[in-house]
């Protein structure tokens, strides 16, 4: 499914396809992205959800060290990489599914390299304890990562030359600045109906803004603005139905 179809479907439903329209395509796309990210995060973050459908693998992510400190987040002489895309902020950094050494030229008789060593997650505070236990101590065969902002710092690689890693991420929808509406819309198709309802509800809310708060740029009074009462899309029961005793 292309985002173009979703966006123009909603624009058409809102009757905003004419030359005097008040809502432009980028605004509807923006609504889709903010609501779509919430719905997708709910889906991916669910305990029941276990699918690779929206796992994005990035290879050859360069590991760098900086020579100077830069606030915030950049600490000199610590190996790190920058997240190649925005990810969902799930509990315990589960937006990062895995980090592994980049595998180039695997021997076909051996297991894939990314299955041999993966980086375990820690935090700057918790990493202190790791060094007290020889089985937990960070090392090239038992590496760790922790996240600060968009920077992923790596522990255990201090004494080996490693240039690249491979990461699997649960990425957010592309931001409006870069999204291409003619590319595949990276969103669960079974949630499209909910997405459309939510965006239409948001659009209806915008159109229902009291007329005395509107600045149309002209003196005319536009009688086309809907003013019906907004009802939650989750409200399925008739309002006069009494709960059972």
């Amino acid at each position: 499914m292309l985002l173009r179809y979703v966006a123009y479907d909603i624009l058409t439903d809102l009757n905003e396809t004419f030359d005097d329209r008040k809502v432009e395509l980028p605004q509807v796309v923006y609504w889709i992205l903010i609501i779509g990210n919430r719905l997708k995060a709910q889906q991916l973050g669910s305990q029941k959800y276990d699918s690779g459908a929206f796992l994005a693998t990035y290879t050859d992510i360069p590991i760098v060290t900086q020579t100077t400190n830069t606030n915030p987040d950049v600490v000199k002489e610590r190996k790190h990489f920058i997240l190649p895309a925005s990810i969902y902020d799930f509990r315990e950094d589960r937006g990062i599914n895995y980090i592994a050494y980049t595998s180039n030229g695997n021997d076909p008789k051996c297991p894939p390299r990314f299955t041999k060593v993966t980086f375990a997650r820690t935090t700057p505070k918790a990493s202190q304890l790791l060094y007290f236990n020889p089985h937990e101590k960070p090392s090239p065969i038992n590496p760790y990562f922790y996240r600060t902002g968009n920077y992923i710092y790596l522990l255990g690689l201090e004494e080996i030359p490693t240039d690249y890693v491979e990461v699997g991420l649960y990425t957010t929808l592309d931001p409006i600045q870069t999204i291409d509406i003619d590319q595949n819309f990276d969103f669960p198709e079974e949630l499209l109906e909910t997405l459309k309802k939510e965006v239409l509800s948001l659009g209806s809310f915008v159109f229902a803004m009291p007329q005395d708060r509107q600045n149309t740029g002209s003196q005319e009074v536009d009688g086309q603005i809907p003013s019906k009462k907004l009802v939650s899309v989750n409200q399925q029961l008739p309002t006069n139905e009494q709960p059972q005793q």
Partner: protein, 256 residues
């Protein structure tokens, strides 16, 4: 097209002056027809203002041509008979950036910063964009608003880009002399092709062999307007004035 001779016959018939020398074409009728052309332009301008234009009413006058923008993303609609359109422009109906043309060749840079030009010999085929007309006040404050047409926030290749244009303006820096009036397009198109749909200003009638460039369905409206002009000369309380005036009002409402 409506022939001037046909209009002449209808006007004379309405005046019951067929075969009479009371009304002469060069002395009376041609001015009445040209008055009615001016009057029609005024009436249609009101319809444009009310956003009630049906292009079909003016199909003989609707044209689309290709221009190349200046380095400031502006277009001067040159009406010169050699370098330009050879006719006047009544109003701009639509601005279509990034057109597909025949031939479909890339534009080359123009020699000077301020120069734009009519691209002669290029036929408009299609465009995905229709620039939205903005007012002077909207023009600047919308620039950084990604949710309005004409925003420069998106890249020139973004699938979310949309265009806007600002109507005619004289950008000449000179204090006393007049410069070319240009329309401007955003996001900025530097030396790019743009298609503009416009209404040609109808030519005046000078001889009875000329045509009036309105569709034939407007014949009665032009005759009525011409009769009104003749009625001016006969005094404004004649029956002719009242009849033609009410007829014209009715037709104006029908057109709107």
């Amino acid at each position: 097209m409506i022939s001037a001779s046909d209009l002449n016959d209808k006007i004379l018939a309405a005046l019951d002056a067929e075969g009479s020398d009371r009304y002469d074409f060069d002395r009376d009728i041609v001015h009445a027809i040209n008055y009615s052309i001016d009057w029609m332009v005024s009436v249609f301008n009101m319809a444009f203002g009310a956003n009630k234009l049906s292009e079909e009413n003016l199909r003989e006058l609707v044209k689309i041509r290709i221009w190349q923008t200046s380095q400031h993303s502006r277009i001067y609609i040159d009406e010169d008979s050699v370098t330009g359109l050879c006719h006047g422009v009544w109003t701009v109906l639509g601005v279509f950036p990034e057109p597909v043309t025949v031939p479909n060749l890339p534009a080359s840079a123009l020699p000077t910063v301020f120069e734009s030009k009519l691209v002669q010999g290029y036929r408009y085929v299609s465009s995905q964009f229709s620039a939205k007309r903005l007012t002077l006040e909207e023009w600047n404050i919308n620039t950084n608003n990604p949710f309005l047409a004409g925003s420069t926030v998106f890249s020139s290749t973004s699938s979310l880009r949309s265009y806007a244009y600002l109507n005619y303006m004289d950008y000449q820096g000179s204090q006393c002399s007049d410069g070319n009036i240009e329309i401007e397009i955003k996001p900025y198109l530097v030396n790019k092709y743009v298609a503009i749909a416009y209404l040609k200003r109808p030519d005046y009638v000078t001889v009875i062999q000329n045509d009036v460039e309105f569709p034939s369905v407007l014949t009665n409206m032009i005759v009525d307007a011409a009769l009104r002009w003749i009625a001016f000369k006969q005094g404004d309380s004649t029956n002719l004035w009242q009849i033609s005036d009410s007829e014209v009002n009715r037709l104006t409402q029908l057109m709107g």
